[in-house]
Each structure stands twice: as C-alpha cells, then as structure tokens.
C-alpha cells in the first residue's frame, strides 16, 4: 500500500466475506471491513465475546485469514500466546518467515472498557506486538444494548430506560490506553475511511502495541435506520462528539478538527436512544450539559495546542 492521499488510494475490493450475521448497517463491521482490506489476510484475529464473535459460526467464516475466539476478558492474552508461539517457532526454525502472521485483537466496548481492560493493560506493559481494534457501539450490544462503561451520558439503553437515560459518563478509554504509552493509538470511525486508512497504515508500519478505538454506530442499539450509519458516523465527528485523534511518541494529535463544529443536537436527534431529550418535552438542561461537555473538551484541546 502506497501513501494514502485520497479515497482513490483505498483498496477497491473488500476481502472480508459477506453474508455475515451482523445487523444491517453495523458500524463495527464497517470499520472491520476497512481495516481488513488494508491488513490483508496474513493475520490472525483474536476475538473476545461480543457481536463479532458471531462472524465465525461453524462451519463458516468471512475471514480469508485465521481466527481464534477466546473469552470476553482475555483476548489480548490470547494474542500474547499466539505471538509468543509464532516467535518461538520462528526462532527455533520451525516456521518459515513468510508463514508468519500479524496478530489482531478484535473486541467490543464491553470487553475493552471493562472485563478485558486488565488484559489489555498488561499486554501493553509487556510491549506485545499486536494491533487492537475495538468497535465501540457504546453498550453491551450483543445482549440487546444494556449500558456499559462506554455508554454516553443521557443515552437510553435496555438498562437505562427512564426519561433521563444513562446516569453515568462515557469512560475515556483513549486516555487510559494512552497512559500506558503504547506505540500507537488512534480513534477512528468507519464513516471517515480516509482517516481510518491512514491510521491503519501508520499502525502497520510499527511494531509493538497499537490500538484503534472505533466508534461503531449501531442501528439496533442506537435506534436509527441502518441506511444512516455513515451519516451518523460523520455527524459524530462534525459535532465534536467523537474526536478523531492519534497518540504517538507521547503526543496526542487531532487528525480532523471540526470547524465550525455543528451543534451536538444534530447528532443526538438522529438516534432513538436520545429521543427522550427532544420529546414529549425538550430537556434543555440535559442538552445544554451534553453540549457543554463537548465544548469543554475542545476548549481544553485548543488551550493545550493539541489541535494539530
């Protein structure tokens, strides 16, 4: 893959098979497609329990490469075992260099933000050479969208159905991962394929722990028409709700700064999970709070000069 300057430089063909059991309009699958087209098939996906576990159901798989399902908490430890195993085989001359595989961890936010955080933290400590893609659909999507540590404040989920929505605030996993000083870390979204591709290419060029946190708009969990996945992904960026950024060499750089930033409402009103903010009576206070949270983030970024 040469330098990616425009959409024309992106792979023309998807190599991940179709006909999977993912929901129509799955934003997670969108980013996985885009990533997989760039990584190719000489890799092994180590998966944790989540929606994507259902990609490989015996006897079918959409992956032309290899796959290993582990458990919800320990996909990065699975990556450790495979990477170490491959390295041992290479070192002892029992595997040809051209038979080597890249190791990719694939989990949802349920695993990444919670149960699997300890295993991820330790894998970064050990400087494991792996790529991690987290598809963040902001809830336990595979079980019907209960709130997780990734659920944004105010969102209605299967376990936060009251008029106020989710009481908690989305955990800043990017900052937690960045504190571990991985080689590379970035946020992405499938609706911005150029930005995603540049980041995947950058990650591919490095060795060590590399992590991609992808916002994954989820028609069933967020309650919107599947055809709007790309639009909603773009709005997440344009309203500043999902900052596109990367961490490398101790620096955070924002790769796409929304100027001017659209009001957060434009993003929220697209999704049924925020419908209670707009009717039957408008919750101006909560809407203002959410807007203030986003404004605060960007003010801080401008102040620090991290804007890139």
């Amino acid at each position: 893959m040469g330098e990616i300057k425009s959409l024309r430089d992106l792979p023309a063909r998807h190599i991940l098979g179709t006909g999977t059991p993912m929901c129509a309009g799955c934003g997670g699958l969108e980013s996985l497609h885009e990533l997989y087209d760039l990584t190719g098939d000489k890799n092994l996906i180590v998966n944790a329990a989540g929606c994507m576990t259902l990609l490989s159901v015996y006897p079918c798989t959409p992956f032309p490469g290899s796959w290993l399902y582990t458990a919800m908490a320990s996909a990065p430890a699975g990556a450790q075992g495979v990477r170490d195993g491959l390295d041992i085989l290479l070192k002892k001359g029992r595997l040809r260099k051209d038979e080597d595989l890249a190791v990719i961890v694939l989990t949802g936010d349920g695993s990444a933000y919670g149960m699997g955080l300890s295993a991820t933290s330790a894998a970064i400590d050990r400087r494991l050479d792996f790529l991690y893609l987290c598809y963040d659909n902001e809830g336990y999507g595979n079980t019907g969208q209960q709130y997780s540590a990734a659920t944004p404040h105010g969102a209605r989920t299967a376990t936060s159905r009251s008029g106020l929505g989710h009481f908690g605030f989305k955990k800043d996993l990017f900052a937690i991962w960045a504190a571990h000083q991985p080689c590379y870390l970035a946020t992405v979204v499938g609706a911005e394929p150029l930005d995603l591709a540049r980041k995947v290419e950058k990650a591919k060029s490095m060795k060590g722990p590399r992590l991609l946190l992808s916002l994954a708009p989820c028609p069933t969990g967020w309650d919107y028409e599947p055809s709007r996945t790309v639009e909603i992904g773009k709005l997440a960026v344009a309203t500043g709700v999902w900052p596109l950024k990367e961490f490398h060499d101790g620096q955070v750089v924002h790769t796409k700064i929304p100027r001017p930033r659209l009001p957060v409402e434009r993003y929220l009103e697209t999704q049924g999970r925020f419908a209670h903010l707009f009717g039957p009576s408008r919750n101006d206070k909560l809407l203002a709070e959410i807007q203030a949270g986003v404004d605060g983030y960007w003010r801080q970024i401008e102040a620090k000069g991290e804007g890139g």
């Binding site: 098939d41 290899s66 399902y69 582990t70 990065p76 430890a77 075992g81 038979e99």
Partner: protein
C-alpha cells in the same frame, strides 16, 4: 540419570525441563511459585530453551497457554487453588480447543475461609472440564508423569490438555530422593512435539474456537471430547509400558497396594495416600487384611481397574480430601456410581472426609476407619459419611472462637 533430593515443585520443574517445553505462561501463587522460579532461573542460565512470560492473571495465563499450544509449541503452566478457579473459564475453553498442554496444579484448599494448606476441592472443581487429571503421591511420580502427561496430551487419539496434580506443602515442599532421567532418555520417551494440523500459519488459515449454534453440533463436539478422554485410559497404559522399558519404573491407572487378599481397602488420591500405605503395613502386622487402591487417573476415571481391585471385598473406605457441600465426598460418589452395577461389588462403600485444608490423618484414624468398615460389612449396613475430627481439634477451635469473641467484646448474642 542422577539421583537428587527434590521437592514436588522441583520435580515438576525438572519434568518441564526434560520435556523441553517451549513456552511457559506464568503467574505466581503459593504453593506453586517455586516451579516458575526454578524454570526462570534455568532459562536465565541457558539450561532451558523456553520463553517464560508472566501474565497478569491465571485467566490470561491459561488463555496464553492455550493460544500458544494452538500455534504449535509445547506449553507448560502451573497454578494452584484460587488461581485454578480464576482460570476456570479458560480451563474449559482450552480443553474444547483440543490443544495439548500440561498444567501442574499444586492443590490447596479454597476460599472461604482463605487458607494455604492442601485439599482437592480446587482440582476437583475442574473435574468436568475436559482436562485429563493425573494425581501424584510422590515427587518421583510428579517428574515421571510430566513426561507421560505430554505424551498423553499430544497423542492424536487424545489431544486434550492434562493436569498433573500434587498436594501443596505435603508434596510441593517435601524433599524426596528422585531419579532424574538424562535428557537423552527423556527425549527417547518424549520426542519433539509435532503439532500436525493444529497450528496457525500464514499459508494455512485456520479458525479455532468458533461458535456453534444448535444442540446437535454442540453435543457432537462435547461428546467427542468425552470419547477422547476415555481413550486416554488405554493410551496411558500403553505409555506406562513404554516408560517402564526405558526408565524401569512401572505405573498403572490405579496403584493397587496389598489389595489381592485384602478384606478392607482404602481408596484415596494424592500424597496423603502414602499415609494410608504406611497404615496398611502396620495394620497387616497387627493381623488385619487391608489394602489401598489409589487412582492415579481421575479423568478419565479408571472404572475397570478399580472394579478389579475392589471385586468381592468386604468393605471399602473412601477417604475424600474434599467436600462437595450438601452431598459429601466426590471420590466416594464417583466410586459408588462406578461399582453399583457390578455383581461382585464390595459389600459396603463407606465415606470419610479427611485432610481438608491440610488437616493431618493420623495412623490410628486409619485403624479406626478399617474397623468401622469391617463392622459395617458384618452388619450389612452403611453408616453415614464421617468427618475425621478429634475432640482435641474441636477444643482447639473452641479456644480460637473464644479469642475471637473476646476481641469483639461480647453482645446480646454472646453467652
């Protein structure tokens, strides 16, 4: 070959070294830690060509162990008690992957209350996982069964991971003279691991651990593991005869001691069985026809070997170093169900619970158990399960309770 004084942990480490393991995912836990420390020291000294990685939990440790085994390297790992329980999800998962590896469990009682000394509730909690289980009574047996376990695990008729179990403290920290085979001898018995079809590589994509939907596919794969485990019995016998030819030490699924003419037979697993063996000698000197049947294999369960050793006996005393709360001793249940349909089954099968949390079993208690079992056979009545516990022990616990109460300063519920 050399003869050295080794602890059970030392014997396990030697076993891993002689098995030329490639990979050792580790996590420290008492009383297992000496095993991984010993291996790391050998690795640092260039005596072991192995990569050891300390994971952040036993759950991750088992995940890494299974994943590496699926990649095609020979894997060793070790844990104990709470660690084994913490890894339980992956114990089942990895067994389902049908990848070979050996795990040494150093048995230790389970929380709560948290404790250090041994009993078998930890390893028996893994009974139904798909891991084969070998229970050792001596340090020599630990070392030898490390080599046997790798052959068993890697055998294409089995392809299941194996737990080699030894008791914490009583065996893990007890020095016994152990014959350490030469590397040449060990390699003759256990050659290089050939992963054949089970391995990840660039040119041959492989999906492992995939989901199945629906009962028929699930049942098929689960039952296949069961059949493979059962196959382990004849493979184990085959391996033991090969082992004997090279090393001169013979093993069988059941260690039957003085059972041929015995009227009463003790049945127990692990290192406490050496106490029973000693008791058998003493009781025989006193004129009692007693014996000991000690299953080395718990999974697969050596039903026929046990039935043979116990055929036509007056009574059997099963001493369980575990407790299935609300039911009783696990080994007793296993044995009773295995023998029930045999026409020549023993007249009575009694259940004793002893050795919980490392509680010792005294010689006179073996005498008492033999006596009670003999009387039960005469009466043709099986008494209820009994906990081995003395009045002196109860007095000691009462004292502890008094201290605990004194510290609390009493209350309306106190007398």
């Amino acid at each position: 070959m050399s003869r050295e004084l080794l602890t059970g942990n030392g014997a396990a480490a030697w076993g891993a070294r002689l098995a030329r393991v490639d990979y050792l995912p580790a996590f420290p836990i008492t009383p297992q830690t000496e095993i991984i420390e010993t291996c790391q020291n050998w690795i640092d000294a260039g005596l072991m060509d192995c990569r050891m990685v300390t994971l952040e939990s036993e759950h991750s440790m088992l995940t890494a162990a299974g994943s590496a085994a699926a990649t095609g390297v020979r894997v060793f790992t070790a844990t104990s008690s709470q660690g084994l329980l913490y890894a339980t999800e992956m114990i089942y998962t990895v067994a389902g992957w049908r990848v070979p590896l050996v795990l040494v469990n150093v048995s230790r009682g389970l929380s709560s209350p948290i404790t250090l000394e041994p009993d078998h509730n930890d390893v028996l909690a893994m009974r139904d996982s798909g891991f084969l289980q070998i229970h050792c009574a001596t340090c020599q047996e630990v070392l030898d069964h490390m080599l046997i376990a790798y052959r068993l695990s890697e055998d294409e008729r089995v392809r299941l991971p194996v737990i080699v179990n030894q008791d914490g403290f009583y065996l893990s920290f007890t020095r016994e003279p152990v014959d350490i085979p030469s590397q040449q001898q060990a390699t003759r018995f256990l050659p290089d691991y050939l992963p054949s079809a089970i391995r990840f590589s660039g040119s041959r994509p492989l999906s492992e651990g995939v989901a199945v939907l629906g009962g028929p596919a699930y049942s098929y794969f689960r039952y296949q593991s069961h059949l493979a485990s059962l196959e382990g019995l004849s493979v184990y016998r085959e391996l033991c005869s090969q082992f004997e030819k090279i090393f001169g030490r013979s093993y069988a699924p059941v260690d039957a001691y003085q059972t041929d003419d015995a009227e009463i037979v003790f049945v127990m697993i692990g290192s406490f069985a050496t106490k029973a063996r000693e008791a058998v000698d003493r009781l025989r000197q006193a004129g009692f026809r007693v014996g000991l049947a000690r299953p080395r294999l718990l999974r697969p369960f050596p039903v026929d070997d046990l039935a043979r050793a116990l055929a036509g006996k007056r009574g059997v005393a099963v001493i369980d170093q575990n407790l299935s709360t609300g039911r009783g001793g696990v080994l007793h249940m296993e044995l009773a169900s295995a023998l029930y349909s045999r026409p020549d089954r023993p007249q009575v099968i009694l259940s004793f619970i002893g050795g919980l949390g490392g509680r010792d079993i005294a010689p006179e208690e073996f005498y008492e158990m033999a006596k009670i079992t003999g009387e039960a056979a005469t009466r043709g009545e099986t008494p209820p399960p009994r906990l081995l516990y003395t009045e002196e022990e109860l007095r000691e616990v009462r004292k502890l309770q008094a201290v605990a109460r004194a510290g609390r300063g009493g209350g309306p519920w106190e007398k």
